[in-house]
């Protein structure tokens, strides 16, 4: 039962609205530093745009999708009205206020520090305060998810928590804890300097705090996608979840091992000891485990659907799948992009292999393929799937939806494959301008041009997505019925308490954070002479 549809729709529309703006900026950035654009002679405008793109795509857009989807899951999976609707609206408006507060200094060129902050670069204090408000707004959601599950448990003592809600709450706990790193960086390090209370900053310590957030945030972005894999796709294509327990174990593993691995982002940083880099590298390898479990379980679930539809043979059943179903299409695209992106990720997490691609365009290609590709394409179909239930109107443009998904997939491949390639050739990231007339990089001009064309394909697909949803608001009314999630082959009657609650896994997550981050943070925090003068953006 979806009662608070306006609340969920507000989250989705704000998410996709800011997504459209940031996508346009992204396509412009691809164009302006490619050989087909004329250089605008002002790198500051480029970094201004890049900061806006990253801040929206990294903090605002996925957080709003996770929140809106989370409220929908809470109401429909638990079949209980959302508790704390006023708080939910307060969280939403905090995010609106934070986004506006952050975007104004960015637009004025006072906060061109990129979304990863890059201390000792310091921008206008309102930019950071805006980001803090967005995070605080999302913590309201975390609390509400926990409260709603608790209320449901009281009414259903001992009953298995529905898989979608179990995963949703796991995602919210992961976010609550992983956001603490960036919050510490902002509150203890950056904001005092930006507010003029201090003139020096411990850039190395700030980077460690940020790595605490920066890797696990990806798994927070990934959660809605994985929830869709397990609880929407099998239902939408007429199959069943192969194993409910396997799904729970995957989400639990994300909770435990997504967190203590962020230092593989700081392999090139001298302030981190090599021993800790090794531990983080090893734990990063472990995070492939829940993804491999998921790929196996979902392939098995899809096979069930195919065999129910009369599929035969070792691989022949794949022909029996409903390929005209947008959900099936999106799943296949998502898996292909997850496969390539994941393979690239294994290179990033290996200390020695990372050395050859660290800080190159390979990295930008990698996280666009994983996040923009594998994750966001599932956000699209989550919206398509929920829309009739939220608006009470049918989405009639199925052909357009398929075209949109195809374009997003093609666009993402065309954008990110050449991007990886020029990274291997050594092209650095975060550059506003490349002189392709120079013989040394002239051979990369073709790859970069292709990449920019991919950017425009993505822009076209993004516009189609928003048009489809907007048209869906005016389509003929239908009764979409209650929103349902996929059921497992063996629906659990009882679940062991360890797989029905999060406490043990949250405890392990916090314990591993202490073992893997405790010493490096204390070491820098207590050492003298580790701070450097701040560099103020736009100051004279």
């Amino acid at each position: 039962m979806l009662v608070n549809r306006k609340l969920i729709l507000a989250h989705f529309w704000l998410a996709f609205g800011v997504f459209g703006i940031a996508l346009t900026l992204g396509a412009w950035q691809m164009f302006i530093r490619s050989p087909i654009g004329t250089w605008l002679s002002n790198p500051e405008l480029y970094y201004r745009s890049l900061t806006a793109h990253g801040t929206v795509m990294g903090y605002v857009f996925p957080t709003l999708v996770a929140m809106g989807f989370g409220y929908a899951i809470s109401e429909s999976a638990l079949e209980q009205r959302l508790v704390g609707v006023r708080w939910a609206w307060a969280g939403f408006w905090l995010i609106v206020a934070g986004s506006v507060m952050a975007v104004i200094p960015i637009a004025l060129g006072r906060a061109s520090v990129l979304y990863t902050f890059y201390p000792p670069l310091i921008g206008n204090v309102f930019y950071y305060l805006g980001v803090v408000l967005v995070v605080v707004g999302s913590w309201v959601w975390v609390a509400l998810m926990s409260v709603n599950l608790r209320v449901w448990r009281k009414a259903h003592p001992g009953a298995p928590v529905p898989l979608a809600m179990f995963a949703n709450v796991a995602g919210s706990y992961l976010w609550a804890w992983t956001a603490v790193g960036a919050a510490l960086e902002l509150l203890l390090q950056i904001i005092p300097v930006a507010a003029g209370l201090k003139a020096t900053i411990d850039a190395g310590l700030a980077r460690i705090f940020f790595s605490w957030t920066l890797h696990a945030i990806v798994y927070f972005w990934l959660m809605p996608t994985y929830i869709a894999y397990y609880t929407i796709v099998p239902r939408a294509i007429g199959g069943r979840v192969y194993s409910d327990s396997m799904a729970r174990i995957s989400f639990i593993l994300f909770l435990v091992v997504a967190m203590p691995i962020g230092m593989h982002h700081t392999f090139a940083d001298p302030q981190v000891g090599a021993g800790f880099k090794f531990i983080h590298s090893a734990f990063t390898a472990l995070v492939a485990l829940p993804t491999l479990l998921t790929v196996f379980t979902i392939c098995a679930s899809v096979e069930i659907a195919a065999r129910l539809r009369g599929g035969r043979g070792m691989f022949g059943w794949t022909r029996a799948l409903p390929w005209d179903n947008p959900m099936m299409l999106a799943l296949a695209f998502s898996f292909v992009m997850l496969g390539f992106g994941g393979a690239g990720g294994l290179i990033n997490m290996s200390y020695q292999l990372d050395a050859s691609i660290h800080n190159t365009q390979w990295i930008t290609g990698h996280f666009h393929l994983i996040f923009g590709g594998a994750i966001v394409i599932m956000y699209f179909v989550i919206a398509y799937d929920l829309w009739p239930h939220l608006t009470g109107r049918e989405l009639i443009d199925i052909r357009l939806i398929r075209t949109q998904l195809w374009l997003w997939f093609i666009g993402m491949i065309v954008t990110t494959f050449p991007w990886h390639w020029v990274g291997i050739l050594g092209m650095p990231r975060r550059m506003a301008y490349f002189d392709f007339a120079d013989p040394a990089i002239a051979p990369q001009a073709l790859s970069v041009t292709l990449s920019a064309i991919g950017g425009f394909i993505l822009l076209a697909s993004g516009i189609m997505f928003i048009v489809i949803l907007a048209r869906g608001m005016r389509a003929p009314q239908v009764d979409a019925g209650p929103y349902r999630f996929a059921i497992a082959v063996h629906q659990p009657a009882t679940v062991p308490v360890a797989l029905n609650t999060h406490a043990l896994w949250v405890a392990l997550m916090i314990a591993l954070t202490l073992t893997n981050y405790g010493y490096p943070i204390l070491n820098l925090a207590l050492s003298e002479g580790t701070s450097v003068p701040a560099v103020y953006v736009g100051a004279q």
Binding site: W39, S41, N42, P43, E44, G196, A199, V256, Q271, V272, G273, A274, G275, F276, K277, F278, I279, A282, F283, L286, M431, Y433, F434, D435, D438, A440, I441, P496, V497, A498, L499, T501, A503, L504, W505, A507, L508, A511, L512, T515, Y519, P520, N523, S527, V535, Y536, G538, A539, Q540
Partner: protein, 271 residues
Amino acid sequence: MSTRDLFTFSNRHFTVGVGITAAILVVTAIAGFVVLPFAQPWVQFANVWDAICSAAGVPQRAASVTAPEQTKRLSEVVLTSRTLSRPSQEAIGRGATLAQRCAICHGPTGISRADSPNLAGQYAAVIYKELHDFRSGARTNAVMSPFAVNLTDQEIADLSNYYAYLPRLPAYHPTPLLPKPNIVIYGAPMRGIAPCGACHGSLDNKTGSPWLEGQSEVYLKAQLQAFASGERRNDISQQMRNIGRAMTPQEIEAAAAYYASQPPDVVKAVD
């Protein structure tokens, strides 16, 4: 079974979950802190504890290495957000009186007729740093050094505030405006040269960098050549020396001629 029963060793899930996690942690820690440090034949450790400390990143002071002796003085200027903030009218007035002895080269209105830098409207931080460097000997000039050597900290701050306060007048002999050369707006990325305009105006300004519009072409050229030859060395971290060394003579000519041709009132008003 309730949550309370979860955290007991009689619960198999608890034992297995915690056990596997702890085992992985211990194995990776032994590998990262003991096995791998000793696997590096080019590093010698006194004992296991030494290796563990090294892998953990404990700061170590190498006792045998002494800092190389500094033969030339380096810039020692420290600028904080309060150094030059909000000058009083009196401070500017004191600066004006002191500036009378500068006028012989830098002009009575801060515009030079002698190929010395124009100071009218220059950023206070820039004048502050250069005067300090002349006084300490980090920068030397046969004419300028004797003027600076007896200045007090207060006098340097007053002079900086006075010149920053003056309006940016057009140069004495303005030349026709030249188009922006590549070195100013693009730099030369393949030789590690950032665009001049990224710090010195035209594109952006960075703290401590002077704006250059309308400065003497001869002066700009001489400074770039002095940086290239290492004769001038008061640039912290060698950024201007590295750029000067990598620039071609043609680029030095082009940059100097371009900035000399620009009217100073186009300087980006950010201060």
